[in-house]
Amino acid sequence: MTTNDDMLDGAVPEPLDEASPSERAHARTFADIVDKAITGRAPAAMSADDRALLEVATVIRAANGQAELSAQRQRSIVEDALRQAVGDRNTTTSGSIGVIPLSSRRKVAPWAIAGASMLVAAAAMLALWLRAPGSEIVHREETAQVPTSWTSRPADPLVGPIAPEHAGEASERIDYLFADRLDGYRERRLSGRGGVQ
């Protein structure tokens, strides 16, 4: 059997073989590392083999249930988490475990949705109110029917044919025409119907 310092790559010793001095020294060194890791003082630098063994040891320890925190430690962590949840920033985090805060996007999203929805609803209600069915007023204009005597019209029916001997009697005809139109004008103005029949 050949001795090899590389424990992972070397030959595997027989179960009943006596441990070599180098193995004992290596075991003590590794035991120290494990002890320090358990108390949270793991050395920053170690060999790749030791790191791999340390991870395995940690997993085995956790699997055996020996990694539980003490009751006091658990309460401290829980209280710190609750304080952070209610916004108390003066809390001291207990160890490396803290409350992972929600991202700001996740905090704002529900309220943003609610706000946007309210805006949409308000806009819809406004549109409904503006377009609400009401009484539509249609304006129509009609021309009133008025008596002929109220209207401006040719004077022929009033004057009749003008005889040659009366050709120059325009003064008499204008008197007659004026009197007739004045009658119609007065009738319209004094009818009290605003000129509408």
Binding site: E136, H139, S152, R153, A155, A167, S171
Partner: protein, 195 residues
């Protein structure tokens, strides 16, 4: 925190649904109650103040001319009658045409009295040219034009007793009288039919 988010989302969804529902309803034209308001307006051809004012002024100018004529002041009478021709009547008023044609007939008569036969003919011709329609006043103006032609013919007779020169003028005078008669007949027939 989680329950708040859920409530917010639920409220949002409810409001969004309500908004979409209402918007949908708003986009559908609903039955509207239609109220018709009819405004009765006066006809535009009623006798109004402006027509009465124009007629009143024409009446006064005629009265003035009559007084001048009774005093033998033919120039003043003619000037008074000429003012009637420039009176402003309401647009489209049939009385305007009638009053102006009648004034031209009187003016032509005054001018004939003054011996201004050609001027009288010009006044009558202008009136007939501007006439918008046939009327008893148009017919009267043709009658006056016939008279003017008779005066012209008589004046020609004084120059030429053989009446060779005056014959065409007399023929034209007869044509004018005929036109006057025809217009009068047509209008009388129309008036009778309307009754």
């Amino acid at each position: 925190m989680k329950s708040k988010s859920v409530i917010g989302v639920i409220i949002g969804v409810v409001l969004l649904s309500a908004g979409m529902f209402l918007a949908g309803r708003a986009s559908v034209p609903a039955d509207r109650a239609v109220t018709e308001v009819t405004r009765i307006k006066e006809p535009t051809d009623v006798i109004d103040e402006s027509l009465m004012l124009a007629l009143g002024q024409a009446k006064n100018f005629h009265r003035k001319a009559k007084v001048y004529l009774s005093d033998g002041k033919l120039d003043d009478a003619a000037a008074a009658v000429r003012q009637i021709l420039s009176l402003a009547f309401p647009k489209g008023a049939p009385e305007a045409d009638d009053v102006r044609l009648d004034a031209r007939a009187l003016l032509a008569k005054i001018l004939i009295s003054k011996g201004q036969v050609d001027e009288a003919m010009r006044v009558v011709d202008e009136g007939l040219a501007s006439s918008q329609r046939e009327s008893f006043f148009t017919a009267n103006l043709y009658t006056v034009r016939g008279e003017i032609r008779e005066v012209r013919a008589n004046n020609l007779d004084a120059e030429d007793p053989s009446k060779t020169k005056s014959a065409p003028e007399r023929r034209l005078a007869i044509e004018d009288y005929d036109k006057s008669i025809q217009i009068n007949e047509r209008l009388q027939k129309q008036l009778m039919e309307k009754r």
